[in-house]
Amino acid sequence: MVTSSHSRPGTPSPAGSTPPPSEPDGPRNTTKRSAAAAHWSIQQRTAIWIRKHGVAPYLLLLPATAIIGALIVWPAVQVGLFSFQNYGLMQISGVLPAQWVGFANYSQILHDPEFWQSLKTSVYFALVVVPLTMIIGTLVGLLLVRLGSKMRTFVSVSALLAWATPAVSASVIFVWLVDPDGGVVDWALAKLPSWLGGGAQWAGFSWTNATLPAYTVLTVMLVWTGFPFIAVTVLAALRTLPSELLEAARVDGAGPWRTFWKVTFPILRPVFLVLALLSTIWDFGMFTQAYIVTGDLGNRDEYNLGLYEYSQAFTQPPHYGLASAAAFVLTIILLIVTVGYVRAAIKQGSLA
């Protein structure tokens, strides 16, 4: 019931909801048809044919389909093909023909301890960052809805600036912040009293050359750049909540905690599902930030799946086949996650 109507603000409107042919044209054409059937121009004939066969929606979808097809589907098909071939430098340059190797690339990837290590890093990272981003984003969203309109604009614009910061800029800034020589983080931590965890051991502490500190930095950065989108989306969703429901809850004596879990959350659940799905896809597939923070490809033990895949394809000698297989494994994992979310969403929808 309420579910579907409230999911709109937070989600992009579905591609299929193209408006039907507009009403005013209908009657006009009908009169024309009866008047001068024999003298229709080519354009008119086409228009009639389109209407008669109901292809208008498909024609309108064509440009988008063509672009998605050329930029996403076709490369994906290529990657799929490469993943079953011994595709390397000799093959890409046409010196040797590519050979089909069946599942050999997949088997090599799945037997590579480095793959499992980087998968583990990606999974743990997403498990920490997605909930953190969701919680902080929601809290800020709840705060925003209570603010006056000027303050709300100010806070949401400030937050969105963090979201709009390009990944490379954000990464470079964070690398500087945690620099062992003169980075402000080490300086501040060294100044902190010891009961707050500070002390001289932080002077010159290197954040980027071990997995745990490096991914701590990445966690802070991705939460910082990720929460504003959640906050603003949650804000938009909150503003569609019928105020009588919240009022009723208040009258019945529910505190803010209870109101959130018993009223707000159940109604906005589809929005949260979509946000969690998007965050998972972004954080699990993180590449740029990890590439910069962990120091190019210099630290193999700090790879996540993105870096692992990249190193297979673009270090010498290039193994495009192996990297394609790794990319497909990553895609399949994300598809499984997506299907899980979508199932949850549908279940929620049918229950409501």
Partner: protein, 455 residues
């Protein structure tokens, strides 16, 4: 990989540029013997040369001199323009691959690191030069080992252009103040001196035990009498678990973990900082006086920060061996010149190489850039010149080794894909158990050297 990526970002001081002018002018007047062997091929409009690193004024001047000489010695190319493209070391393999696969923007001649040559020859991007070399006057004077590095099953794919070695950089004023009277020749002395310098200059780091410069770390394995890997026939045997190699690994790791003369930030770094950087790291720290001892080649002077402290006192000594008195063998880096396989101007490209790399020109290039010439006679002549800064490098150059850093599968073992030795050193410095970590790296290395893959 050669002199290690961005090592050849050899920006040079203005003074050197003046010297280069003089040398280039000199050589273009002097030697005009090599010509005439030319072909009847029609002259190309342009010849494209890919140089590695960033554009360096003194080297541009040098190249202009070479091109003038090329036009003079080969009148048929008088209208041929020579275009130099500078390729950052970190992009070279990608750019070669792109040129080869797209067929567009291909170089006629490319510089490449000497450790790249076996891999690139095997991947089919280099034209064979065997017959050109057999009739070239320069061939017989080249250092035989350097030429052998460019030869696979009897076919030569590149010509050595210059060589370079690493040594330990230090400052004579610091040694004096710390009471160090002679340069160290054993590991124990090296460590003791680092401790002394660190005590004399509080807040500085004694030595840079970086993990991501296998070209430098190799000297410690070799200096203990060990090997990284040995080859018999076509079979590689990794040798990191020999007592000698383990002693070297233990010593190097211990510089950070027990002797505490290195800093934690150097773990995971190259001599220029993080893997992709072209400046920074120990190089910068040494220049700013924050680091007392530092391993690098003479070319790295170009990347020292502009506000470096007192450069007049920089000197070098060869990397010590475990027990002295002879220094450790050192990795013979360098660059080669090769003709790109898909270049339509094979003859013209070789003719230009024969001028760039003749004894006079390659030697003047090496001198102005901090390298040594690929010609035996010129190397011996340069040992007597050069002063304190070059002393260590000149001595080290006599004791070079390249294997297994030029093995066909070495790039897989040592670059971003697996980083076997860097990762091992890093894990050990961060507290991993010694025996099992070294054994795992050894197994992985052997598998990669033999099969190109770790699993």
């Amino acid at each position: 990989m050669g002199l290690r990526k961005r090592s050849a970002v050899l920006g040079a001081a203005a003074g050197v540029a003046a010297a280069a002018l003089a040398i280039a002018g000199c050589s273009s007047g002097g030697s005009s013997s090599a010509g005439a062997s030319s072909s009847t091929a029609s002259a190309p409009k342009t010849l494209t040369v890919w140089r590695m690193g960033g554009s360096v004024p003194s080297q541009v001047t040098w190249m202009n001199g070479v091109v003038a000489q090329f036009h003079k010695e080969y009148p048929q190319y008088a209208s041929t323009q020579v275009k130099v493209d500078w390729i950052p070391w970190g992009n070279r393999t990608t750019d070669w691959n792109n040129a080869l696969s797209s067929g567009k923007n291909i170089p006629d001649i490319t510089e490449l690191g000497n450790t790249d040559t076996p891999t690139e020859a095997a991947s089919g991007i280099l034209a064979p030069l065997t017959s050109d070399l057999s009739s070239w006057s320069g061939t017989k004077g080249l250092v035989p080992g350097m030429l052998a590095n460019d030869t696979q099953s009897g076919t030569t794919y590149a010509v050595p252009w210059f060589g370079g070695v690493r040594a330990v950089w230090y400052r004579t004023d610091q040694f004096k103040k710390a009471g160090i009277t002679s340069t160290p020749t054993t590991w124990a002395e090296l460590q003791a001196d680092a401790v002394k310098l660190q005590q004399t200059y509080p807040g500085t780091t004694g030595f840079d035990a970086i993990t991501n410069d296998t070209n430098a770390f190799a000297s410690f394995i070799w200096g203990a009498g060990g090997q990284i890997a040995t080859q018999s026939g076509s079979q590689w045997t990794a040798d990191l678990t020999s007592p000698q190699s383990e002693a070297a690994i233990k010593y190097y790791v211990g510089l950070y973990t027990t002797a505490k003369v290195s800093a934690s930030k150097y773990i995971g770094q190259t001599e220029l900082g993080v893997a992709g950087a072209t400046s920074g790291g120990p190089n910068e720290d040494f220049g700013l006086g924050k680091l007392d001892l530092y391993i690098d080649g003479p070319w790295a002077k170009a990347t020292l920060p502009k506000n470096s402290v007192d450069m007049s006192n920089i000197a070098s000594f060869p990397i010590p061996s475990e027990n002295g008195p002879n220094s450790a063998p050192v990795f013979s880096g360098g660059s080669d010149l090769a003709v790109f396989k898909t270049s339509p101007n094979q003859t013209a490209a070789w003719d230009l190489i024969s001028v760039m790399d003749n004894p006079a020109n390659s030697t003047s290039f090496a001198t102005l850039s901090g390298f040594f010439s690929p010609y035996s006679a010129q190397i011996s002549a340069s040992e007597t010149t050069g002063g304190a800064f070059n002393a260590g490098f000149a001595k080290a150059a006599l004791n070079g080794q390249t294997s297994p850093l030029n093995a066909k599968n070495w790039p897989t073992a040592d670059n971003g894909k697996l980083n076997i030795i860097p990762t091992m050193l890093k894990q050990l410095m961060q507290g991993a158990p010694f025996a099992s970590t070294v054994a795992a790296a050894n197994t992985q290395l052997q598998s990669v050297l033999n099969t190109g893959s770790a699993s």
